[in-house]
C-alpha cells in the first residue's frame, strides 16, 4: 500500500521534471515562431500572446523574401549537405569494407590513421585549408565545402561502418566468390544493401552538423551566390537587427528545414545513438 503510493508520487515527480525541462527546451523556439506572425506593436506589447486576428501580420516574411535570397541559400545548403553525405557514405563504406574484409599489411595502421580524425577537429587546419582552396581556385565554390565536410565526416563513418561490415556473414560473400562475382560486385551488390541501416545512422549523424556549420561557409565560401542557409541567415539578421519582424521571420524560416529533417529522421537518429553505434 505504502509502496504503491510512493510509486505514484515518483511517477508524478518524474513527469513533472520532464515536462518542466521540455518547456525550457521548447520555449525559445515557440516564442520566436509565434512572434514572427505578429505586427511590430504586438511583438512588444504582448510577446507571449498567440497571434490573433488583430495582431496577425506577415510583414516580416515579406521583407525576408524580398530582401534575402533565401531560396538560393536553401538550395546551396541542400547541395552541400547532400553532396557531402554522398561522398562520406560512398568513400567511407568502400574504405570500411577494405579494412573489415581483407587482411593485408598495414591494415591496423590504416585503421588508426583514419581514426585520428575522430578526435582532432578539422578546424585546427583552417589556415592551410583556406590557402589550399585559394591556390586551387576552389574558394567561393560549393566544392570547397563539400570536400571539407567529406574529410571531416569520413573518420567516424569508416569507424562505424567497418564495425557493421564485420558482422556480414562470410558464407554469403564466399558464395558470391564461387559464383564468380568480382570483389567490387560483392561489395556493391551483397554487402552495401546489408549495411543500409548503419549507412542511415552515419548519414543522420553527419547531416545536422553540416547543415548548421557557420565556420567553413564564413571562411571558404562567403560570396553571395554560394552562401549556405546558416551563413545567409546570420548575415541577413546582422543587417536587419532593428527590424524585429524581419529578424523573427528569418529565424523561423531557418528553423523550418531543420525541424522538417528532424521530424523525418528523428527515429533513425535516436535509434542510431541508442543502439550504441557511438561507443
Amino acid at each position: 500500500m505504502n509502496t504503491a503510493r510512493h510509486n505514484r508520487f515518483n511517477t508524478f515527480a518524474a513527469h513533472g521534471v520532464l515536462i518542466l525541462y521540455t518547456l525550457i527546451a521548447l520555449f525559445p523556439v515557440f516564442v520566436i515562431v509565434i512572434n514572427s506572425f505578429k505586427t511590430r506593436k504586438a511583438i512588444f506589447r504582448e510577446p507571449l500572446a498567440m497571434p490573433n486576428a488583430d495582431s496577425f501580420s506577415l510583414i516580416g516574411y515579406e521583407t525576408v523574401l524580398k530582401q534575402g535570397d533565401f531560396f538560393l541559400y536553401f538550395q546551396n545548403s541542400m547541395i552541400v549537405t547532400v553532396g557531402s553525405l554522398f561522398f562520406i557514405l560512398l568513400f567511407g563504406a568502400m574504405a570500411a569494407f577494405a579494412l573489415a574484409e581483407y587482411r593485408f599489411k598495414g591494415n591496423l595502421m590504416m585503421g588508426l590513421y583514419l581514426a585520428l580524425g575522430i578526435m582532432i577537429p578539422i578546424r585546427i587546419g583552417t589556415v592551410a585549408i583556406l590557402e589550399m582552396m585559394v591556390q586551387t581556385g576552389l574558394v567561393n565554390t560549393l566544392w570547397a565545402l563539400i570536400l571539407v565536410y567529406t574529410a571531416q565526416g569520413l573518420p567516424l563513418a569508416v569507424f562505424i561502418l567497418s564495425e557493421f561490415m564485420r558482422q556480414v556473414s562470410d558464407d554469403l560473400k564466399n558464395a558470391g566468390r564461387i559464383d564468380g562475382l568480382s570483389e567490387y560486385r560483392i561489395f556493391f551488390r551483397l554487402v552495401l544493401p546489408l549495411v543500409r541501416p548503419a549507412m542511415a545512422t552515419v548519414a543522420v549523424f553527419n547531416m545536422i552538423p553540416i547543415w548548421n556549420d557557420l565556420w567553413f561557409p564564413l571562411i571558404l565560401a562567403p560570396a553571395e551566390e554560394v552562401k549556405t542557409l546558416t551563413l545567409g541567415s546570420q548575415v541577413f539578421i546582422g543587417q536587419f537587427v532593428t527590424d524585429w519582424n524581419a529578424v523573427l521571420s528569418a529565424l523561423s524560416l531557418a528553423i523550418l528545414p531543420v525541424m522538417a529533417l528532424y521530424v523525418i529522421f528523428s527515429r533513425q537518429l535516436i535509434r542510431g545513438i541508442t543502439s550504441g553505434a557511438v561507443k
Partner: protein, 308 residues
C-alpha cells in the same frame, strides 16, 4: 603453375576501395593540419614568407598585447568548459536516469522534444536567446516580474561579469540532449538481472542509481567528458553569432575559436595574419591533444570495462 598459386596476385581492389577516402582525408584534413603547424613557424615580410622559427610563439606568449588576449581567451574557454561539465552533464545524466525508467509513459516524446535544441544552428540559438534576454523586448524581465523576482534581472549578455556565464548556459541548453541520449543508451544496456539482484537485496530507487547504475555508466561519462572538452575548445559559432567577432563586451566572452578567427581573418581595422592565426591554432591543437591523451592514458585505461 604451382609457382603462380604460391605467389598471390597483388590485390588491386584493396587499393581501389581505400584510395578515395584516404586521398580526401589526407589532402583536406591531415595535410592542412600539419601545414598549419608548419605555417606557425613562418611570417610575412614584404609579401614573402620567411622562416622565423619559434618567433611567433614568443610573440604570442611574450608580448603583452598578444599574451593578455591569449590567456584571457584560454581562461574564458576553461570557464566555458567548467560550466558544461558542472551543469550540462549532470542535467543530462539526471534526465536520462528519469527517462530510462521502464514504466515511464511518453518517454519517446520527452526524448525527442528535449533533443530539439541540439539540432538547431548556433545562429538560431544565439539570436533567439539574445532577443529573449534583451531588455528591449522584455520577455525575460517580464517573466521574472511574474514570479516577483524582477530585481534579479540584468541585461546579462551586455554585462562583462555575466556575459560568458550566460552564453555558456545557452550552450548548455542547446547541447544537453547529447549527454542525455548517450547516458540513456548506456543505462538501457545494463542487464535486468543485475538490477533484479539488487532489488532482492533491497537496493531500489535512488540508492540503486548511486550504487549500481552510476558505476556502470562511468565509461560513458568519461566519453562524454572528452567529447565536451574537444567541442568546447574549438567552439566558435555561438559566441560569433551572439556577440560578433569582437566577443564583447570588452572581450569578456572571447574564447580560443573567436581569438583565432579574429587574428587569422582580421576584423575592422586589424588585418588578418595567417601566421599568427596558425600559431594560435597550434596552441589549440596542443591543448586538445593534451586533453585527449590525459583521457586515453589517464582515465580510460584505468576504468574497468564491464562486459555483459
Amino acid at each position: 603453375m604451382a609457382d603462380d598459386l604460391n605467389k598471390p596476385k597483388f590485390r588491386w581492389h584493396i587499393v581501389v576501395f581505400l584510395a578515395p577516402a584516404v586521398l580526401v582525408y589526407s589532402a583536406v584534413m591531415i595535410y592542412p593540419l600539419f601545414n598549419t603547424l608548419r605555417l606557425s613557424l613562418f611570417t610575412e615580410v614584404d609579401q614573402e614568407r620567411v622562416y622565423v622559427g619559434l618567433q611567433n610563439f614568443k610573440t604570442l606568449f611574450g608580448q603583452t598585447v598578444w599574451s593578455d588576449q591569449f590567456w584571457n581567451a584560454l581562461a574564458n574557454n576553461f570557464w566555458f568548459f567548467v560550466i558544461h561539465m558542472l551543469v550540462q552533464n549532470p542535467i543530462g545524466i539526471a534526465l536520462a536516469a528519469i527517462l530510462s525508467h521502464p514504466k515511464l509513459r511518453f518517454a519517446a516524446f520527452y526524448r525527442s522534444a528535449i533533443f530539439i535544441p541540439t539540432i538547431l544552428s548556433f545562429v538560431i540559438v544565439g539570436f533567439a536567446w539574445k532577443l529573449i534576454l534583451s531588455p528591449i523586448w522584455g520577455i525575460a524581465p517580464g517573466m521574472l516580474d511574474a514570479v516577483g523576482l524582477k530585481s534579479l534581472y540584468a541585461p546579462w549578455l551586455g554585462k562583462e561579469a555575466y556575459a560568458l556565464t550566460t552564453l555558456s548556459l545557452v550552450s548548455v541548453w542547446q547541447f544537453v540532449g547529447i549527454p542525455m541520449m548517450l547516458i540513456y543508451a548506456a543505462l538501457l544496456s545494463i542487464p535486468d538481472e543485475i538490477l533484479e539482484a539488487a532489488e532482492v537485496e533491497g537496493i531500489t530507487g535512488l540508492s540503486a542509481f548511486w550504487k549500481i547504475k552510476l558505476p556502470l555508466i562511468l565509461p560513458s561519462i568519461g566519453i562524454i567528458s572528452i567529447l565536451t572538452f574537444v567541442a568546447n575548445f574549438n567552439a566558435f559559432d555561438l559566441i560569433y553569432a551572439a556577440q560578433g567577432a569582437l566577443a564583447g563586451p570588452d572581450f569578456s566572452t572571447d574564447i580560443l575559436g573567436t581569438f583565432m578567427y579574429r587574428t587569422f581573418f582580421g576584423f575592422q581595422l586589424q588585418l588578418g595574419d595567417p601566421h599568427m592565426g596558425s600559431t594560435i591554432a597550434s596552441a589549440m591543437f596542443a591543448i586538445i591533444l593534451i586533453g585527449v591523451c590525459l583521457y586515453l592514458f589517464g582515465i580510460q585505461s584505468r576504468m574497468r570495462r564491464y562486459q555483459f
